[in-house]
Each structure stands twice: as structure tokens, then as C-alpha cells.
Symmetry: C2
Subunit: 332 residues, 2 copies
């Protein structure tokens, strides 16, 4: 068994030091009591933290390389949703045993993604204990460019990047809730294990989108966060929510459940004025990420109105859906 | 059982919002994908993250109010060791059950300390799972003022704040390794559960001390980090290491074990030039924290020399000690 310090040094600190140095004067990484970090001039640090627990956010048999990827990806996704440029991250984790093969694969997945986005490991903590990963990520953004949840305006279109529901479909296959052929199962599993943070889209949407967030707990629950923070309502065409060809091969009611309340999508949901439709589509083309309009923001009509989503089908008829976002204390 | 969002709102977000707002223009706290934070003008953010796991860093029966205090205190201690002023923190935790009485006490302990140091909760994550607390803390410091581990100079005195060993003594009492009377047991337990981060001392030492770190894993192991980063050696008078009256009532060999390799002290170990002795003592008096000189830094003499600590007794005679810092993968 490696000691804690040898473990940090071998799998993390050395690789962190080997990453291309983009650091400003005075910046300080791993090895002191604190890292020292500053945002770019005129910008602020966008900060987000996520904790992943075995058995709840991933299966015990997950490929450790995929886990390394996903642990950072879900955090980068929060930066994407703010329109922030990744800069650095800290990693704290507890591990039952310091298995070298596991750590090699985990750190490979982690650093491959970190290096792709120029995001340096600047600190961390390791301890024994049930497997738990806590990453805190730092990006840089001008405050006036930040894509906040409270910025939706009446009349805004509601947009979604990529497709929704594949991760939830993959979870359902693993749980035996439904089945799919080998190809579709692989598609779903990839969505579940290797989400791609929409960093480049988030950056491209600065100055175009109003409000944004990333979809981690399911569209129905997450969009409600925008509505609550912006004090708005929304009308959404449930059938317009983009989905993969693989998901379209599952029964319609499963498609709807996966796309609207699935969770683990890590796509962006954002609002933008009608006048920006061409700009949104151009931004999506520029960064090669599909963007799809699914609905409209509207003001609350009376003082008694509450932020809520009115679901419609493709014909525009109202749908009554009982949907719930993925709540970790109400895990299904 | 409260849902995750109700829980965050009730115990954390509302209290975070109730804290005095010291935030600069554009700053953004809980409720969006990311918080937005900037250091003070001309300063950088000092960042540290620590993870606390039940059964390893604290006992399952720990008073949750004390746990809330300690979880933040050990992070603030890292800011103290950099000479940084606390600014904000994020809290991610996994909990087996969302017990309201437990959460009330935990958040009471957490926010009492946070408010005392003007440190705002700006974000977090909660999930179900084995009890695990991960805090990332942010302070602000001018890079030229930061008390780094690599800044020890030949001839520097080595100083310790407060007293060492009481937390380890308390652990020993709880484990039945040794016993103490009720008063001393209470003293030890308080040291173990309610460490006081040396923030004000760290700030007072800016411009005076050279190198510094906080003692979390035991003096023998932690001082070695300064020596390794600074490429220096040290001579330390093992009997000069400050200890409480309560600890002095335990057998000498237990005193030595607790003070030199105990861990969980959260006192500062720092170096300063001989010419700064009066300034160090004045800084200690100013902030009402005892400071004690325990040894001297020296340069490596030959290329084959390795950073190491030479232990001496009160008479100056060499001691051969087999000590090991508290290593979480070698838990004793």
C-alpha cells in the first residue's frame, strides 16, 4: 500500500506539475497549505463544487478512467453554464484502498479532460474511507458576461444543447428497467459515463444568451431553477426536446421520462431573445454543438402565479405530466 | 425526510444569505451554477480543500455542533498558515440521513465560526451516502505576503504557536491508550473537537515570518514539509515544544509522542530570522497567542544531505526518535 503522500505525488502532483504552465506571476500550485490563484484581469473566478459518491452517482464497477473523466466533467459543466473559461481545480477524495491500477486509470481519465480544457490541478486532499470524490473547479469570467440563472426575460426562447435522456436510458438498461440492443446500450452507457462539458458552447453564448444552467437533475427540475430565480413561467413542447436516434427506439413514454426527468445530461439549457435566434444557431454551428428551441419564457401574470412549466405536445395541446427532477435524497 | 433542496435552503442557503454582505460588485453566492468571487485588488485567492470522513477524522458520536466547527476550522487553519484573510467557502457533504436536529447543530457550529471570521458560504453540494464533509476555503493575500513552505532560510528560528499534543492526548484517552482525570480529559477533548484556527496570528506574521505551515499531521512530519520545500535541515529541542499543563501530567514518553507526532494540532509552525525575535513575540502578544522558539534552520552541508530534523533534549544531547506523522493510509 502506498502512503498518502507517495500516492498524491505519484498519481497527481507530478502530473499536475507536468501540465503546461499557464500561470500568472505569484501563482502557486500543489505542495503548500494553499494554492494561490487569481482570475484574469477584469474577470472574476467562477467556482463550483460537486461530490460524487459510489453507489449513488456511479456504480462500483465503473471503469475508473471513465470515473476520472466524469468527476471533472460534471464540474466543468457548471463552468460552461456560466460562460466561464476553465482555469484550475482541486480534488479531494476518500478511497477504501490505494489500488495502483485503479489510480492510474482514474488519473488518466481525469488529466486527459483537464489538459483538453487547460484546467490545472492546484490542490487536494486524500484520505481513506468509502469512495467519495469532491472536485472544486475554478473558471474565469467577466461578471457582466456570466450566464446567470436569474436573467431570463419574457419572450425569451428556451434552448437545449445536444440531446437529452441517453444517460437516464443507460441507467435504466443497467437497472433492468428496459432493454436495448448492444449498439444503443453502448451509446447510452457512453452518455452516462463520459459526458462532454459544453465549455466551448458556454463561451460562444456570452453576450447572446440571457439565462443558462446545466442539466444535471433533469430538465423539469432544472428549468424550474431558472424560472424561480428569474420569477418567470415557461411553456415547453415536450416532443421538441432533442433526443438521440438510440433513445427514439425506446417506447415513447420512456423517451419522455428520460428526456424530461432523467438527469445526468450535462447539456446546457439557456434562454435567449427571439432576435438572437440566428446568433444562437451560428454559435452552435461554430462550436459544432446542436442547439434546439423547445419553448418560451413568459412573465408571471398575477401576484398569485408561481414559476412553473406548462408542458405541450407537438400539436400544442397541454400535457399533464407528473415529473420530478433527480433528487439525491429522494433517489428512485 | 427533507428533500435535498429543502435541506440546503433551510440549513445553509438562508443562513448564508443572512450573513453580513461584504461582497464586491458582481459577486454571486448560492443558487447559481457557480459562485463568482474575486480577491481584493492586488491580492490573490488562497485556496485549500480538506475532506473529513467519519471514523477516520472524527468519531461517529461527535457532537455535530463541534463537527461543524472543526470541518471549517481545519480549512481556515490552512489560510492562517498562508497569512491569508478568510473570504468564503464551499461545503459539499454526503449524509446517510437528513436528520434535522443533527443538521441544526452542525450548521450552528459551522456558521458560528464562519461569521466570526467573516467567511461566507458561497456554494455547495449535498448528497446521500456515508458521512463525508468536503470544504474548500478561499482567502485573500498579496502574493508577496504569502507565508510559503519553501521560504525557510539558514539561521531562521523555528517557532510554534499555542501548545501541541492535546488533541492526540484526547484521542488516546478515547481509545483507552492512557487515562486522565475529568478536567484534563475535557481539555484534551476540546483540543480534539474544537481547534481554533490561527487566522489572526497568520495575518500578524505577514512581513515577519519566512516559511509557515499548519500542524495537522504532527510536528515531525509537517516540519519536514518545510524542510523539503526549502531544501534545509532543522535542529529541534524536543523538550522545548510547548505543551499544556494537562499534557504535562501524562508520562514523559506520552508527552513526547503527542507533541511531536500527534497530529490534529492546527497550530502554526513558522520560521523567522533571529533579528525578528522581538517582532514575532510582539505579534504573538498583539493577538494573544503564545509563540515558542523550538529550534533552528540550517543549510544542507553537502550534496548528499537530505532535509531532516535533528532532535535534541533540553541539555542539547542528540535524541534518536522513531516518529511518524499521521498518515491517513497508515492510520495507527
Amino acid at each position: 500500500m502506498l502512503s498518502e503522500f507517495a500516492l498524491i505525488d505519484r498519481f497527481f502532483a507530478r502530473r499536475a506539475a507536468a501540465a503546461p504552465s499557464r500561470t500568472a506571476e505569484g501563482e502557486l500550485g500543489i505542495g503548500d497549505d494553499c494554492a494561490l490563484l487569481a482570475p484574469r484581469p477584469g474577470e472574476m473566478l467562477a467556482i463550483s463544487t460537486d461530490m460524487l459518491v459510489e453507489g449513488r452517482h456511479f456504480f462500483p464497477d465503473i471503469d475508473p478512467e471513465a470515473l476520472g473523466h466524469k468527476a471533472l466533467a460534471v464540474n466543468l459543466s457548471d463552468l460552461a453554464a456560466m460562460g466561464a473559461r476553465p482555469q484550475a481545480f482541486t480534488l479531494a477524495f476518500s478511497l477504501p484502498t490505494a489500488d495502483e491500477a485503479w489510480l492510474t486509470a482514474f488519473s488518466d481519465g481525469l488529466f486527459a479532460l483537464a489538459e483538453r480544457y487547460g484546467c490545472d490541478l492546484i490542490g487536494g486532499d486524500t484520505t481513506g474511507g468509502p469512495l467519495n470524490l469532491c472536485i472544486t473547479v475554478f473558471g474565469s469570467v467577466r461578471p457582466q458576461d456570466a450566464l446567470r440563472r436569474d436573467a431570463a426575460q419574457p419572450g425569451d426562447d428556451i434552448w437545449i444543447s445536444g440531446t437529452l435522456g441517453d444517460a437516464r436510458a443507460g441507467l435504466g438498461v443497467q437497472r433492468g428497467e428496459w432493454s436495448a440492443d448492444a449498439n444503443d446500450t453502448a451509446t447510452f452507457r457512453r452518455a452516462l459515463e463520459r459526458p462532454e462539458p459544453r465549455i466551448v458552447l458556454g463561451l460562444a453564448l456570452r453576450g447572446i444568451a440571457h439565462a443558462a444552467l446545466d442539466l444535471s437533475d433533469g430538465l423539469a427540475g432544472d428549468l424550474l431553477h431558472i424560472l424561480e430565480r428569474s420569477e418567470m413561467q415557461a411553456t415547453v413542447d415536450a416532443d421538441a426536446v432533442p433526443r438521440s436516434t438510440a433513445l427514439r427506439r425506446l417506447p415513447p413514454e420512456i423517451q419522455r421520462r428520460c428526456t424530461l426527468a432523467g438527469g445526468d445530461d450535462y447539456e446546457l439549457c439557456f434562454t435567449a431573445p427571439v432576435t438572437a435566434r440566428a446568433a444562437v444557431e451560428a454559435a452552435g454551428r461554430e462550436v459544432n454543438v446542436p442547439v434546439t428551441r423547445i419553448g418560451t419564457i413568459s412573465a408571471l401574470q398575477t401576484a398569485a402565479d408561481r414559476p412553473a412549466i406548462g408542458w405541450r405536445d407537438a400539436a400544442g395541446a397541454p400535457l399533464t405530466l407528473t415529473l420530478q427532477g433527480f433528487d439525491h435524497f429522494h433517489a428512485d
